[in-house]
């Protein structure tokens, strides 16, 4: 390998990790300086917040709470995917199904799902079921929408080619429409992950029993601001890790696709 080639390679492999890291450090620094100079009672500085982290992550009960949140989020996400993807694909390929489902989506899209939490709790109690349902609602809408758009845009000649090979309608939906819309479906999934995180925390805020949100809002009630901020850090880190994991899976699943430009998925 020539020196120039090596240089471009190192630049390419180093750069993607570096800017986000610098941004995080800058943010922590700004936080530290702000808390130190303008110190108001409610804001702990960055260092003491970070020092609080081992206490939370080392505490068996808190850790169990956080894992419980992740478990609920994963189950809710999986349930949402299981019905949203087929529903979206059906809508994309059948005008009748789309005409039936679209008005329902229009009504539910602008409603903040966490705002439904009190009503849902009346029906399903304060346990897992209510929290799961809110997560499922949050995740399913963007996934349905993007699966719908993806299925609608499938090139007709591709479906015709499959028909000429003798492929039946249901088989075309599963083996042509699904893979062809996969890049678009994954855009919906990415939004879905963010919404799952948000609905997970807010559901735990409203129905306090377990979970990361429970720790956060209990600490807030008791004015333990270090814990509050440390939990915010933990949740953010969870979001970043999930997103990185998702991007990795996306690369595995849709490496074949033409690169695309999305508002939500800028590629570095």
């Amino acid at each position: 390998m020539t020196a120039a080639a090596l240089a471009t390679r190192t630049r390419a492999t180093l750069l993607p990790g570096l800017p986000p890291l610098l941004a995080c450090l800058a943010l922590l620094l700004a936080w530290q300086l702000y808390a130190r100079t303008l110190s108001m009672g409610g804001i702990p500085d960055a260092l003491s917040t970070i020092r609080e982290l081992p206490a939370i992550l080392g505490d068996r009960e808190s850790l169990a709470d956080i894992l419980d949140s992740i478990r609920r989020m994963a189950i809710g996400f999986a349930i949402a995917l299981a019905f949203s993807v087929p529903l979206g694909l059906f809508m994309g390929r059948s005008r009748t199904v789309a005409a039936m489902v679209n008005p329902l989506l229009m009504i539910t899209y602008p409603v903040p799902k966490a705002a439904l939490m009190p009503i849902i709790m009346l029906w399903f109690g304060v346990g897992d079921a209510s929290k799961l349902l809110v997560i499922v609602l949050g995740v399913s809408l963007p996934v349905i929408y993007h699966a719908y758009q993806g299925a609608r845009a499938v090139e007709e000649k591709m479906l015709w080619s499959a028909r000429a090979m003798g492929m039946s309608g249901p088989a075309r939906l599963a083996r042509i429409v699904l893979p062809a819309s996969l890049p678009e479906i994954l855009v919906g999934c990415r939004t879905g992950i963010v919404l799952a995180l948000i609905t997970m925390i807010t559901s735990e805020m409203i129905a306090r029993q377990t979970g990361a949100g429970n720790i956060l809002f209990n600490a807030l009630d008791m004015a333990q601001y270090e814990t509050v901020y440390a939990m915010i850090l933990v949740i953010s880190a969870l979001g970043i890790v999930l997103d990185m994991l998702f991007e990795y899976v996306r690369g595995l699943l849709t490496g074949w696709a033409e690169p695309r430009h999305d508002l939500l998925a800028p590629s570095l």
Binding site: S161, R163, A164, A180, W256
Partner: protein, 257 residues
Amino acid sequence: MIAISGVTKTFQRRGGGTHLAIDSIDLQVAEGEFVSILGPSGCGKSTLLYIVGGFVPPSRGSITVSGRPVTGPGPDRGPVFQEFALFPWKTVLGNVAYGLREAGMRKREAERQAEALIARVGLKGYESFYPKELSGGMKQRVAIARTLAYNPAILLMDEPFGALDAHTRVRLQNELLELWERDRKTVLFVTHAVDEAVFLSDRVVVMSRQPGRIKAIVDIDLPRPRHRDELLLQSRYQHLVIELERMIEDPPEEIRP
């Protein structure tokens, strides 16, 4: 082999009204014959081909293939579209083997046959490439191989070389002719390039526009096997090209109210 009788297609237009795309097309194509449909843009060439393929129903008239009426697509008629329409999530090998796997062939055997075809269209070594990694000409070769793979008796080709540069186009024309001379499939070939139609075909169907009707059917009485360099020098070839060019150059008729 293919009998098209009285086929008419009227499209419903948005906001009411209808548009007569093709009108009373009668055409017979014999087994092993290479027939081109030549006409200006919008004269309904694709529409006619889609109807023969069974992808689009005719408004009136009927199609039979080997005596059986066409009611939908089937593996006896293999389409090759101008848009390639490859499966982007499949490799070259996966695309070409797709129809064989669909017909129930074991994976090993399907891939073996696909590999042989890929070599025949000159893409040996590209088996593991994805469509996005191929040039336009290579994609079209894969599309042709994918259709040839499940061995349809009839090929329906819609301007397969329309999107290619002149050089690639000539190469693929030569390759198509070579393939055809080997297994003499029945081919219905849509094009708007006069020289392409004359070079490849036994007969050329000239269509007029608004609505699409058959204007003339010209026999291409040039000996086979044909070689481009020899053909270009023949006065019979030149004569045919000029005759056909005059026919489609006629001023387009206006849409009648």
